[in-house]
Subunit: 391 residues, 4 copies
Amino acid sequence: MTAASSDILDLDSLLSAEELELRQKVRDFTRQRIKPDIARWYEEGVFPLELATELGELGVLGMHLEGYGCPGRSAVEYGLAAMELEAGDSGIRTFVSVQGSLAMTAIHTWGSEEQKQEWLPRMAAGEVIGCFALTEPTAGSDPASMATYATKDGSGDDAGWVLNGTKRWIGLASVAGVMVVWAMTDDGVHGFLVPAGTPGVTATPIQQKLSMRASIQCDVVFDGVRLGPEALLPGARGLRGPFTCLNEARYGIAWGAMGAARDSYEAALEYSLGRLQFGKPLAGYQLTQQKLVDMLVEIQKGTLLALHLGRLKDAGTIRPEQISLGKLNNVREAIRIARDARSILGGNGITTDYSPLRHAANLESVRTYEGTDEVHTLVLGRHITGLGAFH
Amino acid sequence: MTAASSDILDLDSLLSAEELELRQKVRDFTRQRIKPDIARWYEEGVFPLELATELGELGVLGMHLEGYGCPGRSAVEYGLAAMELEAGDSGIRTFVSVQGSLAMTAIHTWGSEEQKQEWLPRMAAGEVIGCFALTEPTAGSDPASMATYATKDGSGDDAGWVLNGTKRWIGLASVAGVMVVWAMTDDGVHGFLVPAGTPGVTATPIQQKLSMRASIQCDVVFDGVRLGPEALLPGARGLRGPFTCLNEARYGIAWGAMGAARDSYEAALEYSLGRLQFGKPLAGYQLTQQKLVDMLVEIQKGTLLALHLGRLKDAGTIRPEQISLGKLNNVREAIRIARDARSILGGNGITTDYSPLRHAANLESVRTYEGTDEVHTLVLGRHITGLGAFH
Amino acid sequence: MTAASSDILDLDSLLSAEELELRQKVRDFTRQRIKPDIARWYEEGVFPLELATELGELGVLGMHLEGYGCPGRSAVEYGLAAMELEAGDSGIRTFVSVQGSLAMTAIHTWGSEEQKQEWLPRMAAGEVIGCFALTEPTAGSDPASMATYATKDGSGDDAGWVLNGTKRWIGLASVAGVMVVWAMTDDGVHGFLVPAGTPGVTATPIQQKLSMRASIQCDVVFDGVRLGPEALLPGARGLRGPFTCLNEARYGIAWGAMGAARDSYEAALEYSLGRLQFGKPLAGYQLTQQKLVDMLVEIQKGTLLALHLGRLKDAGTIRPEQISLGKLNNVREAIRIARDARSILGGNGITTDYSPLRHAANLESVRTYEGTDEVHTLVLGRHITGLGAFH
Amino acid sequence: MTAASSDILDLDSLLSAEELELRQKVRDFTRQRIKPDIARWYEEGVFPLELATELGELGVLGMHLEGYGCPGRSAVEYGLAAMELEAGDSGIRTFVSVQGSLAMTAIHTWGSEEQKQEWLPRMAAGEVIGCFALTEPTAGSDPASMATYATKDGSGDDAGWVLNGTKRWIGLASVAGVMVVWAMTDDGVHGFLVPAGTPGVTATPIQQKLSMRASIQCDVVFDGVRLGPEALLPGARGLRGPFTCLNEARYGIAWGAMGAARDSYEAALEYSLGRLQFGKPLAGYQLTQQKLVDMLVEIQKGTLLALHLGRLKDAGTIRPEQISLGKLNNVREAIRIARDARSILGGNGITTDYSPLRHAANLESVRTYEGTDEVHTLVLGRHITGLGAFH
């Protein structure tokens, strides 16, 4: 069994040599650096911090950004990397997304020249970890009701800010060197850069997770946090700021989820070829083949969809509802595939010796963050019908 | 509501100007010549014979074949035409498939120069209707057990044949000018051309259908049918002959099914925008939007898949299991979509005033012919696992 | 294959001897009087009027009502009869529901003594067919927006009524001897009895149906229809009147749908046992068994549910939301079962030679009338959560 | 929110006062002794041994058995207890099943008088934990291929046994005071009682589980284990022995799974009532209500099914295929329900603060043990069709 065998539709023929090479490089990294230890990290609930600089060297942090030490790769290449990393574990891919699509994109898009130079090169190298504090405890799918508030501290150009509020599900916050924090102000929503160690900031990892245990999500409290005027991201105003970043992240998720799906499929296929039942391989039974085929069909369709989105993105024509479609479909299908894959493994499928149930558990997080199925369904529904049904 | 609005992923951007032009031409034909009368044809159980020459003029009969009066268009163009025609009715698209992918492809691929010159130009023009007699009453999914037999009649080069046997579900047989008949011989399976009016041939349309009522499928009996030596298709031997044609047809089905799906979606969307419930359009409710979105997601994925298959086919690299995947997925999803679309129409959805339930009923035939879900699942399963699970 | 073999859970052990006897009687009727001709009736779009008096003799018209010539059987017995009749055809069961649960129940519950004596005995005998005119063209799932209006014609006790409006999907209206018509008045919704032949009433059968073709549904127009004071159903006021009848009908549907499901299952099982593929019966393959098992599981659960509802109804404790649950579940599952059954039949499944696709088509009507899935889902949702989500 | 509110069909009206009382007692136990600590036990991967004697006092160990200190309750009462315990956690219910349905039933049914007196009273009290060693690493769904072997050790009546082999997924083995071990002999399969501490027995808990972490499953190795003649269970011979016990356990699972489902539903309902989105409770949205309703429908059907099985069991007429149907359906539906419930919880659903994802994870084990979906499907398929499709 090699991964190539899951490419029944010859989708690789749609990729350039450069794209295939990049993919191979990331696939090798996953095989060598993630797969051997992921079961332990997951069981112990540990994010492997040491991977950060290695991922920086691999060139996948902020990889679609140009300048400031960023790799400047295409959207398709970013997608391929996300797919390979999530074939390892959604938690690792999530780190890459938070770092590159959320934190670095925010700074790159709306930061001042000074902010970019200060943070981006070290973030691209994995020396500084970034996080993105948007979600609040009482407003998962409704950022407009944001309660975190930044008040002007003083007046004139030197005026700083005082930040108060609570965020939840903030990836990597407890290990972040810099936080991109979104807060309401008298002048609408703005973004702020909050360096690690700023007094009044507390980030507490959420415990007892049944999903993405090799990653970190935190409750973050901002209690009278004083920030200088230079903390403000000058270019972002309103929810367009964080929403742009979320779209970047969702794009990567659409690819990544297919990586978890493909790895689940391959694990189930390999198991079914080796496991005998009533004297012949499980893979030789109709009920098993039906599962494998249905999985593969959706993996191929989801991958084709991700690639199409990538080409649109590289062409500069992609629209948010297209990304919503990709995120909705690919995560939804990936979770089904991971669950079906797990069902082929019998009793053995419930340990971390096999990846599908871990992937299925991880995808529970992925399905919820950056917009639940319901949110994306209603975004698409509004686009299709011209009628909002959110309320 | 225009059809364009269902292209949420900008798939049209993947088509050339020539392809878009061809599609528009066929779409216009469907709107002008099929949609106005299809409800009546369906209710009355009538195949509109007069369309044959019009479809010939439209250039969609044997459209992917070269020479002998055939249009010589690409596989993608053939697919686009199938999609637009099936947006009208699966029965009409089926006629085009039987004519072009089955009967004409058989003659074009394995016929003698004389056979090609005799039949193909008139078939391309729609002046002669062809049919393809492979399936037998007791062997739907297992052509290898074919019982129709052609015995040598005489000896030497002048020896003709005597044909005996029964075929079932033979599309258009009762109106065909020429039948391509597959029969077992002492030398394996061979194909024969049987002109209309040959003594001993009886074609009886199957009645009381709940599906594809605007098409014709027949029971055909060959009772001591004497054929000259020139009836033999010289190039075909074994099941590779009919299987090649079936693959051609399946390719078109993968496209066509998405046409029925898209038309169902558009009918449901339009209805839901105009129908008020509790004072607001049905389209404004969450439960309706969820259905519409799920339909559109699968239409887009299925169309992307069909287009990918078309590009592979035009590149000459397509493989049978890839077509199996396309047929399996696209018909299965199309039937789900048509059913869901129908559910949006409430009580009004059960008449032929609206297309979705007619499409759903038609697709019951499409799902079965050229290989059921189970057959294609096991074909793919064997490809994936290397283990046959047919028996 | 006998029907008994589908009783894998020994549900018959929950029935009394009297109930089993009644069921056998109706089952025999279905076998002798419905099954032999149903394919023809369906193809020709004909309701077999001659069955009305036979069904009267069988004792299934208004069978749960007491007095006035009605059979006075239990709710469970009524349910069993509905199940057996719908194993024949949903259209026939629908006639029995419209007659007994809708028209006769309305008269029995809210009629004057004179009205009851005039109509009920002849309706119980099947000599007079009743119909129930509630649904309007623009208000399928929202009877409160009723536009049909009855205006007082004159004053005092002798004052009659003038009725104007349009109804749609009115079962049996064109052959009805008496119509129960619901109309808005200055005093809220009221019911009226409109005998056949009353001037100003036009009932036009809806044509070109893809469902319930052996039944009749009509567009009915009331154009200045003058009614005497005796036309008013004295006991009903407001929507509680028609809603009570709808609940009666829904109860019968919950049973009936399982009859269509069981007949579909049995047809598929019998076919799969007799049809050889690759040399062994279809029934011996894993993919076929999986379908058969999943069908049977849902048939058994749905039947158990219907029986439980019947026992609650006979105990006088049943509540509307319980009936909603039964209607929602049993029709939804029945349609899935009929579709799956059809898929076992291969190409042969698309003619009326086999019942499953006809049942599936019929159930499209059943699923919509007396409340769509969405309506019952939201009724139940409101019950569960205390929050209405209709608007 | 109280549990009672999920009884929309008044199923409680089918229970006796005694049954309701027993249920309440177990429900209270779950609320007081399981729910407060289950998240911690689960996270830490700990089976709470201290519960064993408390469950003994509660009267749920071997509760359907008579004599020898066993409670002697009915099958329905056993089912109700299983349901309430699994509303706490599948791992705790699994302990009760292994103890009562597997180990104690084996001893009670096939043990000698001495064996019964030695073990059953202490097992009923929870002082001795039992386990049931049947499954082997290479034969999950096919016990007939058992490789563990017991060889006669000596000759005559005094001859003992030497036991060699490996078992896997043996619940509670590492904490068991006595093991019921099934092994092949020269005379077919036999059962043996192996007390804790017998030399040559090693039980190693399986680590890094993603399911049932508050329970224990072990790899067990028997390496030249010498047993006296009194170790043999005299009454059991062949696979009928273990299969009888498995049927007992499956019966309890059919009930238990509905407990996990109901608890998941109640958690989701409560959350959706309290969680605001766009200013109104999640529970007030159509998409949420649809999920809640679909969950509740299946919970009610599954509970009705379990109760029906219980009544058949108490009547002594239950058959194995009926239990297969219950296990297949109820676990399959429970896992769907738990997953859907989790989806209502948004991001918060991935911690053990809420039960649904834990239940979903647990049910992955429950779905596999005592027969996968596929095994029960094929058991039922064989019953229905008379044709085995296992091979």
